[in-house]
Amino acid sequence: MLEWLFASPAQRRLLGDGRMRGPTAWVVAIMSFSIMIIAAAGLALANTASVLSNAIEARYSVEVPAGGANLGATLEALRSAPGVASAEAVPESEMRHTLERWLGPAAASADLPVPALINFDVRADANLAAIQKRVQAVAPDAQVSAHREAVGPLLQSLRVLQWVALGLVVLLTAAACAAVVLAARGALDTHRSTIEVMHGIGATDRQVTDLFQRKIAIDALIGSMVGAMAAALVLLLLATGAAFAGELTGGATLSGIDLVLLSLLPLALTVLATWVARTAVLAALRQAL
């Protein structure tokens, strides 16, 4: 099945000693680099969205009006409610610090009515309606809200970005395949006389195709590996390097499975490019008798 990979010296001489003409390997290298970077970004986004989603899935907030007059009672009611795993009041200083980003020094003003806030986590079997009822029994104007409602748009954006990343990976892969098809056609044109001679003396399409397939596979493998190594270097710098990189990555990480997937991408690109080249060469050969 893979005997085409192991051409004899005589078979290698048939298409000349050099690699395929044209910048196939370079194009594939650029595509491979871009695909790796975008795929890594997409996976990191997926991981970030997953972490964020898990963190807020069970988290709720209670806004206690009237400056938090019922804060203590509300907190006690929450902690004693069935299904509540934990409940913590957000310190006023932390609230003011958060507001400072928008209001500046005015956030520290005593005249500013800062709402009191309690964050609580629920267990999977929690009855939210019962918890809400218990809270409102202590603080009738208190409002319970799920964190996922607030962060939902951000999560949605992250998921859209994942699909955008996937789409870009598909587009770049298609572009790489198109480049390989063009390279295969160019190689067929370059070696047309050799092919005619081979056909004329009884070579089968498969014998001719194997020669081109092997050449293109080598170019694609070299290109995708070079691109992948460059991408790996960039990702390594982003993961471990300069401070600005730390800000950029924002804690997004790649799991072991992600790294395995990324390392398989160049091989997948090579296999796909080889298959596309074989199909293109066979289709072109079938045009002739």
């Binding site: 005589a10 001489r13 048939l14 006389s193 001679v197 056909h199 008798l289």
Partner: protein, 259 residues
């Protein structure tokens, strides 16, 4: 002048060999026509047989259709009408996947040699053997022997651009005959060489013919035809077979008894 009939028999079920011997047929053309694209027919109503072991010259003015007829013979073209049988097999509509098997039984000397420029003379001659699946051990001896036979033993590693026209022609001929083909087709094989070399090449063809290969040579060279005893003439004009000498107008016709 052309010696005894060895193979061509127009509209006969069997080709006629020397002394009236009935030969099996290598090629049978029945009402064959050929046109390229939507153009006019370049070959019309070709009916002939090539007998096994025959030696044939194909002649005619430029544009008569000699090269087109040869293309049909070495399976580079399909006829647009009529039927062609080669080696006893109907190949007119045969699937293209089956053609390589038949092409390996045909040696072709192209008018322009069609050597692979970046391969050595050795590799060019070895190509048919390698395509047939021969191992390097099986290739080495026969190719060296064949190169010696055509006088190019010391030029085995030379590439075509460094060879003279005559040397290239001999490499092309060595490549065509290395597989001991059942049918050898040569298009103006002496067109680019001097008369001495032409005679040498015809001796090579004759030797191969004596080993049983059917030989078809397209040529304008009347001297060459005259110097080849036992050969038959197929003359083409305007895409049809004619015979100005009259010898083929009423060829010997055996009784229609195939048994």
């Amino acid at each position: 002048m052309l010696g005894k009939a060895r193979g061509l028999a127009k509209r006969s079920p069997r080709a006629i060999g020397v002394g009236g011997t009935i030969l099996s047929e290598v090629a049978e053309f029945d009402s064959v026509g050929l046109r390229y694209g939507t153009g006019a027919e370049v070959l019309r109503d070709l009916d002939f047989r090539l007998g096994h072991g025959g030696f044939y010259f194909l002649t005619g003015p430029s544009g008569a259709g000699k090269t087109s007829l040869l293309k049909l013979l070495y399976l580079a073209q399909r006829p647009t009408r009529g039927r062609i049988r080669l080696f006893g097999e109907e190949l007119t509509d045969a699937p293209r996947e089956s053609l390589p098997h038949f092409r390996r039984r045909i040696g072709v000397v192209f008018q322009d040699f069609r050597l692979v420029r970046h391969l050595s003379a050795f590799d060019n001659v070895a190509l048919p053997l390698r395509i047939s699946g021969a191992t390097e051990e099986q290739v080495e001896g026969p190719v060296r022997e064949m190169l010696a036979w055509v006088g190019l033993a010391d030029r085995a590693s030379a590439r075509p651009p460094t060879l003279s026209g005559g040397e290239q022609q001999r490499v092309a001929i060595a490549r065509a005959v290395i597989n001991r083909p059942d049918l050898l087709v040569a298009d103006e094989p002496t067109g680019n060489v001097d008369s001495e070399m032409a005679q040498r090449l015809m001796h090579l063809f004759g030797a191969l013919n004596r080993l049983g290969t059917t030989v078809v040579v397209a040529t304008h060279d009347v001297g060459l035809i005259n110097a080849t005893p036992g050969a038959r003439l197929i003359r083409l004009e305007h895409g049809s077979i004619v015979d100005p000498t009259g010898t083929l107008r009423n060829p010997p016709r055996p009784a229609r008894n195939d048994a």
